[in-house]
Symmetry: C2
Subunit: 482 residues, 2 copies
Amino acid sequence: MTLYQKLATRLREHIQHDFYKSGDKLPSVRQLAQEHGVSISTVQEAYRQLEQEQLVEARPKSGYFVCIPKKDNLPSISRPPQRPLEVSQWEEVLNMLMNRSGNKGVQLQHAMPDMKASTLKPLLKTLSDLTKQKPELGLGYSDVRGSEELRMQLCRLTVASGCQLHPDDIVVTSGCQEALSVCLRAVTEPGDIIAIESPSFYGSMQAIKAANLKAMEIPTHPETGISLEALELALDQWPIKAIFVTPTCNNPMGYNMPEEKKEQLYRLAQSYDIAIIEDDIYGDISYQFPRPKAIKAFDQDGRVLLCSSFSKSIAPGTRVGWIAPGRYRDKVTHIKYVSSSMCPVLPQLAIAKFIRIGGYAKHIRQMRQNYEQQRDHILNAIKIHFPSNTRVSFPVGGFILWVELHPSIDTMKLVERCREEGVNFAPGPLFSATGKYRNCFRLNFSEQNKEKREWAIKRLAAILHDSDTRIEHSAPETSALI
Amino acid sequence: MTLYQKLATRLREHIQHDFYKSGDKLPSVRQLAQEHGVSISTVQEAYRQLEQEQLVEARPKSGYFVCIPKKDNLPSISRPPQRPLEVSQWEEVLNMLMNRSGNKGVQLQHAMPDMKASTLKPLLKTLSDLTKQKPELGLGYSDVRGSEELRMQLCRLTVASGCQLHPDDIVVTSGCQEALSVCLRAVTEPGDIIAIESPSFYGSMQAIKAANLKAMEIPTHPETGISLEALELALDQWPIKAIFVTPTCNNPMGYNMPEEKKEQLYRLAQSYDIAIIEDDIYGDISYQFPRPKAIKAFDQDGRVLLCSSFSKSIAPGTRVGWIAPGRYRDKVTHIKYVSSSMCPVLPQLAIAKFIRIGGYAKHIRQMRQNYEQQRDHILNAIKIHFPSNTRVSFPVGGFILWVELHPSIDTMKLVERCREEGVNFAPGPLFSATGKYRNCFRLNFSEQNKEKREWAIKRLAAILHDSDTRIEHSAPETSALI
Ligand SMILES: Cc1ncc(COP(=O)(O)O)c(C=O)c1O
Ligand SMILES: Cc1ncc(COP(=O)(O)O)c(C=O)c1O
């Protein structure tokens, strides 16, 4: 290694380990030359190298700065099949779910938030106190719509997303998964068609399957979400019953649909007189503050069913989700009752208190900052280690991102190989009704341990670079490529 | 009041307040005469009066004894409409659910167990310890089939009902309600017909409605359950997809289907090659020990989907239920995942430990005895206070019973009037797909406070006797009478 390469490696490490963070000013050329006892031109050479890697940038008259990760290598807009299809891929989803517990190694596959934050302590304390001091509150049957205390706090909370709700407009559910399933069943009959983003969260797609519905996947832009033009074409062509979107901090791509576009989407639903199921589960951990408006904020006639839970903003184990079902309230209440009767009360009361005393606001403020930092870190790590033809989404909230590899890579095979080496991710086909996105995968970056994540990204990259393990598509799958 | 009437009243009170219990020997005629300073013939007259009321019986050469409640006034075998029908009555069910919390007075309407028992303490302690000491166990996503620890204990537990299960044969659910809903969806397509007992638990019937199925109600005997003859006729006539029964400590009638009949029912399902969904939620609190076998015990080819929960044997608020889905395991796992993803972990771990250390066995032993005593008490109270044409089911497990009044009584109207006076029950039409059983209702007797219950039974009876409030059917409803 030459002198300048050594210096570049050193600086690269400093950036990766957050010694210098995105946007930070780096030491001047002169300073570095002195510090390391090398010539000015060696330092210049090192900086030029890092510039080429898009890790640092020179600003005229100011010196060198750590690049703020950019969205210059976004995945392409998706091109799913242009007709309603049955959802497959359950085997693949189950396979991943089953590996939840037994799995060794670094877990980048699940959409699991950071649950070690000290800002969660007041919540855990309340839950522990309630369980100890008032266990009887948790024993009986209670309101099938959920605890009124919590529904009141949810009304307060959703002001931030532009909604004006009354406690009677809310139905508490067992997580957002139940919310989505209940809403789907409330607005459709078996055989109906649902328009969805593509790629889409596998849990929603499997719910579409279980409700005997067909999925009409709509081309989706990695920065602004579902294509309204494509959606309108589909609405003209097919008897679509509802639109199902995750427009804020989308899973798996992490984009926010711009607010004007949200309003347009609402108007479109209005003109075709169909419902919108809006999954807002990541909405509260948008990096932007105040958080973006929900589509529900534009709802004038109750056609938007807003779904959410505290699984991403607090922890999935709470299983506290909810629906603001608009005009579908009665049907939603029926299906929720039938689906699992009422929800456990103590977690609801604990979360209600957490919101009331301001603990929730404090917690998500911290999470927002934390996840945004982790995002910069993982984007840099991917840029440094992955093949240069890699495309990556640019999350503006939440803690997951979408990676698009060269079309010759089959992530269903890659996932097995990586699992053996202790790195786990969610392969792309899970996010498609028909097993598309074979060259894509989703990564979680909620983990605060940067060394661990960096090790995993490096391993992944090494397997990708290793030509022996370069996995070619087998013939029948080629057609499913985007 | 004459002397003998006064003495009879006195003795009646003693019996009602359990000073003398069912089967106890009463004081001799001579003894009573001395004690109360009355003549032998006055005591004889009093005893004759109580004999007429079927409260006491004379045994030759032994004296007088408190009657053991008998099943001589059972409701008639039901005669539901002989065709598959859509389920209605949701408004009525919701109305009752909504009154859960706000209601004043004595609550005899919900199938809520006794949750004040000291035998529950070890469970509550474990839950409180876990919540305090290992909150992290409760935070993440976990196995969609439920905690393995619990599934292992469930295998142990179900040996008592004659089942041989492996942890992999079990899927944990959010209560028995989710279990039923998931199983229904797993074995049917929309539009299919399900055969059910009549009357049936409203939660199952509403699940049939929500899954777009039709209910074929089958005549049901108040002592032995669903009529196999009628069922076979229906199976010949209609393309029935599955049989849905609660054969052990049935809700609402409290019968046990005899074990031979359970086996016959299984053979019938086999010969028509259809599935059986068996709701065993009350099975563990059968008064008989060891508890009766489940239909699942006779299952040779995995066509029985056994559903249960700890809602009746422990407390509904735990929301821990489960399915042994037999050959439908993969479909059941899919629908359970879609329905609400995984279940909260800490209650599962706490219950697993409760079973493991023997706390559960101890608790249900106590509950069995307790509920059997309460049953005798409420049956006596009904016998004493209600009109003599009242028919009452004779529960052999659980804590609910079914009352059939004179056909001229409309319990949908009665329930409103009684609510105003602070007595709440579940009116009959909720237990029918089409609003039948208007002259019937269900009562809960888990409450240990006998005075409170006796007061409620007296109030109810008074309203029934009060000719001003005698409620006649309005014309259109008459046809729905049994
Ligand atoms: C977009 C989206 N919706 C819904 C869910 C399900 O959430 P819950 O765990 O609250 O059921 C998830 C979880 O991964 C998700 O990412
Ligand atoms: C026969 C029967 N099945 C199922 C249920 C629902 O049980 P869970 O509360 O466990 O959902 C009940 C509750 O009343 C019931 O009586």
